[in-house]
C-alpha cells in the first residue's frame, strides 16, 4: 500500500438505533474509511423487555402470548418452540388434526415473514414498489389469521395441547385461493426484481458468508442454506405433521445476498405446496388434547426446536414442578446471525451494509427478547 501524504483518520458512524434500514432498534457502530467499512460492532438491547425473566413469574399457558412478541413477524413459530418444550415436559401430544393445523399456521406465517423480507430487502435497495407489493400479499395472510384466530400479528394460536380453535367455515377455500394466487405473484417479483440488472449488481457476490464460517458461527435457516448447507429442522428433527409432508429444502451454493434471497423465494413456493398438502390431508377430530386445567409439569427440562423463517429457533424450559417455569430461554437465530455480521460487512461499502443486514433478515424482537 502506498503511504498517504495527508494524515487521515477513520470515521465512526453510528447507524441506528433510529435508522430506516436497521429493521428496528439496532445500532451498528461502523468504522469507515471513506465509504468502506473496516469495522463494525452491533450494539443491541434497545428492545430488551426481559421476556425470559417475566416468564418465570407466569403460569405455563400465560407465557404463550409473551413468545408472540419475540419474533413478531412469525409469532406462530415462537409459540411452537415453547409449546413443544412444554408438551415434552408434560408428555402430552397434540391430536392429529391439530398437528396439521399447526403446520398450516406455521407455513402461512413463514410466507408472511418472507414477504416482509422481500419487501424490506427491496426497499433497502430503493426498489420501493416491491415493498408495497410484498405488504399487499402479506395482508391477505393477515386476513386469514384474523378470520381464524381473531388476531392478525400476535395470534397466540398454538396452545399447549393443540391450537386455539378449529378453523372456521370457508377458511379452507380462502386458504386454497391464496395458495393458487401466490405463485403468480412470486413470478411477478421475479420479473420485477430477481432478473433486474441493478438488483443483481447489488446482491451477487456481496456479503459472502462462507460455508464453514456459517457453520462455525452457528448460522441456520435461509442464511445458512444460502451458503450451500442443506440444514432444515423440519427435515433433521421433524415435528408436528412435517414427516407426512413432501417438500424440498431450498439450498443455494453462492453464499451471497442473492443466494439468501433466492432461498427465501423458493421457500415461499415450497410453503404453498406444504399448505396445499395439509389442507388436502386434514384429518377430522379434536384440535385440543386433554390437558389439565392447572399445568404443573413434573420437574425436569425440555428443549423445543423449530425451523422459524429466520432459522433454528429453540426454546429451553426448566420445570421445578410448580405452576410457573423455573427458567425459560430462547435461542434466537437473528441474534446468532448478528454475531456473524461484522465479518460479513468487512471491506464492503455503506450501501452494502443495508443489503447485507437486510439479507440476514433479523428481527430485533427476538435478538433483544
Amino acid at each position: 500500500m502506498t503511504q498517504s501524504l495527508t494524515p487521515t483518520e477513520h470515521v465512526t458512524l453510528n447507524m441506528g438505533p433510529q435508522h430506516p434500514s436497521t429493521h428496528g432498534v439496532l445500532r451498528l457502530e461502523l468504522q469507515l474509511e471513506g465509504e468502506v467499512i473496516i469495522g463494525c460492532r452491533p450494539i443491541i438491547g434497545y428492545l430488551h423487555r426481559g421476556i425470559e425473566k417475566i416468564a418465570e413469574a407466569r403460569t405455563y399457558p400465560q407465557v404463550v402470548p409473551y413468545t408472540d412478541r419475540l419474533d413478531y413477524l412469525s409469532s406462530a413459530s415462537n409459540n411452537m418452540a415453547y409449546v413443544q418444550a412444554v408438551e415434552k415436559l408434560l408428555g402430552v401430544e397434540a391430536p392429529e388434526r391439530a398437528k396439521f393445523l399447526r403446520v398450516v399456521l406455521l407455513e402461512l406465517n413463514r410466507i408472511a415473514s418472507h414477504l416482509v423480507f422481500i419487501a424490506t430487502f427491496a426497499n433497502d435497495l430503493a426498489a420501493t414498489t416491491v415493498f408495497l407489493y410484498g405488504i399487499r400479499e402479506r395482508e391477505l395472510i393477515m386476513d386469514l389469521f384474523e378470520m381464524w384466530a381473531g388476531a392478525r400479528l400476535t395470534q397466540s394460536w398454538i396452545r399447549i395441547g393443540g391450537v386455539g380453535q378449529d378453523i372456521p367455515d370457508g377458511f379452507v377455500e380462502r386458504a386454497r385461493e391464496f395458495c393458487r394466487m401466490l405463485p403468480g405473484r412470486l413470478d411477478e417479483y421475479d420479473r420485477l426484481l430477481t432478473g433486474n440488472r441493478i438488483f443483481r449488481a447489488r446482491t451477487e457476490g456481496v456479503g459472502i458468508l462462507p460455508r464453514e464460517m456459517g457453520i462455525d458461527y452457528g448460522a441456520s435457516g435461509p442464511t445458512l442454506r444460502g451458503s450451500g448447507v442443506s440444514f432444515d429442522i423440519r427435515r433433521v428433527e421433524p415435528y408436528e405433521a412435517y414427516p407426512a409432508l413432501d417438500f424440498e429444502v431450498a439450498v443455494q451454493p453462492a453464499c451471497d445476498c442473492m443466494a439468501r434471497y433466492l432461498v427465501r423465494m423458493k421457500e415461499m413456493r415450497e410453503s404453498v405446496r406444504i399448505i396445499e398438502q395439509c389442507l388436502r390431508q386434514l384429518p377430522a377430530g379434536e384440535v385440543m388434547a386433554k390437558v389439565p386445567r392447572a399445568i404443573r409439569p413434573p420437574a425436569g427440562e425440555a428443549y423445543g426446536r423449530v425451523e422459524s423463517p429466520r432459522g433454528d429457533f429453540g426454546c429451553y424450559v426448566v420445570s421445578d414442578g410448580s405452576a410457573q417455569p423455573a427458567r425459560v430461554h430462547f435461542r434466537a437465530p437473528s441474534f446468532i446471525h448478528l454475531g456473524a455480521l461484522p465479518r460479513m460487512l468487512q471491506g464492503w461499502k455503506i450501501g452494502d451494509v443495508v443489503a447485507i443486514l437486510g439479507s440476514i433478515d433479523i428481527v430485533l424482537g427476538e435478538v433483544d427478547r
Binding site: 470515521v11 458512524l13 435508522h19 430506516p20 434500514s21 465509504e35 427491496a122 426497499n123 433497502d124 435497495l125 430503493a126 426498489a127 420501493t128 414498489t129 408495497l132 407489493y133 399487499r136 420485477l192 426484481l193 433486474n196 441493478i198 438488483f199 449488481a201 447489488r202 461499502k349 455503506i350 450501501g351 452494502d352 451494509v353 443495508v354
Partner: protein, 339 residues
C-alpha cells in the same frame, strides 16, 4: 418575453418621461416573478403527479382528500405545513453556511429557466450562449449540496455531500458531451437556433448519431437530478436522506423545490434539444412544449419507482468506463456526419 412587447411598453413609458433604466429594472423583476411563479406552480404539480404515479404503480390510492377527489391541493397543504414548521439550526452547525446552502441550491435551478423557450416568443432571454449558460449554471447547485453537508455537522450529511460532489463531477462530463453533439448538429449555442435547426431538418432524436446523444443526456440527466437509480446523495435507506438530513421546515422545502424544479428543467430541456421544443400540429406551441416536457418527466418517474439503487462505485464505473467513452465517440460521430 416578447421583444416587440418590450419595445412597445418601453416606448409607451418613454412617452411619460420614464428613464429607460427604471423601466428595465421593473421589466427584469417582472420577468423573474413570472418565472418564479411558473416554477412554483410546476413543482406543486410535479409533486402531486409523482405521488399519483407512484400510487398507481404500487396499487395504492395516493392523495384523495385535500381539495377534491384527486387531492390536487395536497402539495399546497404540505408546502403550507413546511412554512409553519419550526426552523432548527443543529448544534455545532456552521450557521452562515447552513443558512445559505438552500439558496445556493435553489437560485441556479431557477436561473436556468431563463433560457427555456416555451414558444418561439415566450422566452425570458434567448442568450446567444444559451447551452453554455445552462451547463455553467446547472453545475452550481452541487456547491450548495456540499455546503449543506459540510455545515450540518452530521456524518450522514457529509457522506451525502461527498457522494453528490463525486457524482456531479462524473456525470456532468457525459452530459456536456451529449449537449455538444446537439450544438455541433445545430451549429449554434443559441437555443432558438437549435429549435430552428430541428424545424428545418427534423427532430434531432430522428437523426442518426443523436439518438446516442439523447440516451446519454437522459441517463446523465437522471443522475443530475438525483433520481433512483442515481439517488445516492440522498439514499433514504443508507444515509437517511443525505445532505439535507438536518434541515427542517421551509429550508428543507427549498431543497425539495430545487430538486423538482431541476427535474422539470432537465425534462423540458430534453424536449428542447431532441424533440423539437414547441413544434407540433394543431395545438398551441406552449401546450406542445408542456406535453413533451411532462411526458419525459413521467418516464423519469416511472423509472424511479421501478428499479433499485446502484452503489457508489458502480455509479462511478458506469460513468467513467461507459458513458464518457460513449460520449466522446458520439461527438466524433456527429462531427463526421456533419462534414
Amino acid at each position: 418575453m416578447n421583444s416587440t412587447l418590450y419595445q412597445r411598453l418601453l416606448d409607451w413609458c418613454g412617452g411619460w418621461g420614464l428613464p429607460t433604466w427604471i423601466f428595465d429594472a421593473v421589466w427584469m423583476v417582472a420577468m423573474a416573478a413570472i418565472v418564479t411563479v411558473f416554477v412554483l406552480v410546476t413543482v406543486l404539480a410535479l409533486v402531486w403527479l409523482e405521488r399519483k404515479i407512484s400510487a398507481d404503480m404500487q396499487s395504492r390510492v395516493g392523495p384523495n382528500r385535500t381539495g377534491g377527489r384527486f387531492g390536487p391541493l395536497q402539495t399546497a397543504a404540505d408546502a403550507l405545513k413546511l412554512l409553519l414548521k419550526e426552523d432548527i439550526f443543529p448544534a455545532g452547525a456552521d450557521r452562515v453556511v447552513f443558512w445559505l446552502a438552500p439558496f445556493v441550491v435553489f437560485v441556479p435551478t431557477l436561473m436556468v429557466f431563463m433560457v427555456l423557450p416555451f414558444t418561439g416568443k415566450w422566452v425570458a432571454n434567448d442568450l446567444n450562449l444559451g447551452v453554455l449558460f445552462v451547463v455553467a449554471v446547472s453545475a452550481f447547485p452541487v456547491i450548495g449540496l456540499i455546503m449543506a453537508g459540510w455545515s450540518s455537522n452530521n456524518k450522514y450529511a457529509i457522506l451525502g455531500a461527498m457522494r453528490a460532489a463525486a457524482q456531479s463531477v462524473s456525470y456532468e462530463i457525459p452530459l456536456v458531451l451529449a449537449m455538444v453533439c446537439v450544438v455541433v448538429a445545430a451549429g449554434s449555442l443559441r437555443i432558438g437556433d437549435i429549435v430552428a435547426a430541428q424545424r428545418e431538418g427534423g427532430w434531432f432524436i430522428l437523426r442518426f448519431p443523436l439518438q446516442l446523444a439523447f440516451l446519454l443526456y437522459f441517463i446523465t440527466a437522471m443522475a443530475e437530478v438525483n433520481r433512483v437509480p442515481f439517488d445516492l446523495p440522498e439514499a433514504e435507506s443508507e444515509l437517511v436522506s443525505g445532505y439535507h438530513v438536518e434541515y427542517t421546515g421551509m429550508r428543507f422545502g427549498f431543497f425539495f423545490l430545487g430538486e423538482f424544479a431541476h427535474l422539470f428543467f432537465v425534462s423540458a430541456f430534453c424536449a428542447t434539444l431532441f424533440f423539437g421544443a414547441w413544434e407540433g400540429p394543431w395545438l398551441p406551441p406552449a401546450v406542445w412544449f408542456l406535453i413533451k416536457s411532462y411526458a419525459i418527466v413521467i418516464v423519469i418517474m416511472w423509472i424511479r419507482w421501478t428499479v433499485p439503487r446502484l452503489r457508489i462505485d458502480q455509479i462511478m464505473g458506469f460513468s467513467w468506463k461507459l458513458l464518457v467513452p460513449l460520449g466522446l465517440a458520439t461527438v466524433l460521430l456527429t462531427g463526421l456526419m456533419k462534414v
